[in-house]
């Protein structure tokens, strides 16, 4: 399975997302928003060495200047100019020239729009990123039903702005930037109930992840028993667990956003409910979202957008691996 991670100027969860994908056993590479011709999609491993160096420089210069966000936005652009020598001066592909470029996206089974602050959240979060050339190609990718699209945090905001998901995200009710662990309920809907019973998911103490290569390579990841885990309940897909229900499960993921309050008109909300498009809800609403919405499907179930960050709860060193539930969820929809 191959993942693409779209990077806009100001995106800052690109690397977390890429590393999580790779750890999960997928191939993964970055896609620069403005330059999606052949040379831009460099393989992640080539990129990584340089990324380390550039990251050092970026953090050093941010510390020095103390300007934080502004500086890092500016710098992240130059970081990518280093990766893609012509990124700045390359003429942007125009609509209609897309054949080659959309083929380029077609090599990915899943495309991520990671979190962060594309274009510094200027005007509104996601308002400027939706005009990036890659969004046009992303629309073609979706129309062709080639693969699955995942927007996390700012990615969710961009997908809503671009009209790929219904509704919009605006300032939290409390007006604060919220950075916290949030307990979530994954509601796959009754339609997905059958999928849950598939042989790939057993309800003992471990998920069985199908190998990306297929065949003998199936590997298992151990789940920590609930009483050992510190944050949240997590992994309560076991029928013996108190919060287990046939088609929902609860777990904890970090949220980090200032504009995460989901808003839509009543007609849209009605449709979301009828078509079971709300796949992720907060147990306790942190931001005033309508219907406690934390994540959505589109009508065709080819796109998801979510405010919580699964990639920030992936590595066991960070004390929470519940993000793997989301990656597993994605993988099941791609294969």
């Amino acid at each position: 399975m191959k993942a693409g991670v779209i990077v806009f100027p100001g995106t800052n969860c690109d690397r977390d997302t890429l590393e999580a994908c790779q750890e999960f056993g997928w191939e993964a590479e970055y896609i620069w928003h403005d330059d999606i011709f052949e040379q831009s999609s460099m393989h992640a491993s080539t990129l990584r060495g340089e990324a380390d160096l550039q990251y050092e420089q970026r953090t050093a210069s941010v510390r020095k200047s103390g300007e934080g966000e502004k500086q890092s936005l500016k710098h992240s652009h130059s970081v990518f100019q280093a990766f893609v020598p012509h990124a700045g001066i390359h003429p942007s592909p125009q609509k209609g020239e897309g054949a080659g470029a959309s083929n380029n996206l077609n090599k990915y089974d899943v495309i991520f729009l990671p979190g962060g602050f594309s274009y510094g959240d200027y005007v509104r979060s996601g308002a400027l990123a939706k005009f990036s050339p890659v969004i046009e190609y992303l629309k073609e990718y979706i129309e062709q039903k080639r693969g699955f699209v995942v927007g996390i945090c700012n990615g969710f905001q961009i997908l809503c702005e671009a009209g790929l998901l219904p509704g919009a995200l605006t300032h939290n009710e409390g007006l604060k930037f919220i950075c916290a662990d949030s307990e979530l309920i994954l509601n796959e809907g009754k339609r997905e109930e059958e999928r849950r019973k598939s042989p790939n998911l057993n309800f003992n103490n471990s998920f069985v992840y199908p190998s990306p290569l297929g065949g003998e390579g199936d590997f298992q990841r151990e789940r920590k028993p609930a009483n050992v885990r510190k944050s949240g309940e997590g992994y309560c897909n076991q029928p013996s667990h108190p919060c287990f229900t046939p088609h929902t499960s609860r777990f904890t993921l970090p949220i980090a956003h200032a504009e995460g309050r989901y808003v839509a008109d009543e007609k849209t909300i009605q449709e979301l409910k009828e078509k079971e498009m709300i796949f992720l809800t907060y147990k306790e609403n942190p931001n005033g979202s309508v219907e406690n919405i934390a994540g959505l499907y589109d009508k065709e179930r080819r796109i998801i957008g979510m405010m919580p960050h699964p990639e920030r709860a992936f590595f066991k060193e960070l004390g929470n691996e519940d993000g793997k539930i989301i990656f597993d969820f994605i993988e099941k929809r791609c294969v």
């Binding site: 509104r124 308002a127 605006t170 939290n172 009710e173 808003v263 008109d265």
Partner: protein, 84 residues
Amino acid sequence: MIKYKADITVKLKNGVRDPQGSAIETVLKRVKGENTKIHVGKFFSIEIEASDIEDANEKISQISNEILSNPILEEYEMIRLEEV
């Protein structure tokens, strides 16, 4: 082409909760004893070249609709449009 200048305000639609506005209302009530209704928004000033004022109006309306505001939650108002 003639140069035009326009001022545009963007605010949340009626019915979309505006927490900034509510916060100011609460403070005003406490400090001044006034009952108010406050909407907080954004202000944009645009200079643009167009063939005539209608053309300018059309261009700026489009920009306001597509970029400066999100019609799902916000509404814009062109409060001034004049030749520079």
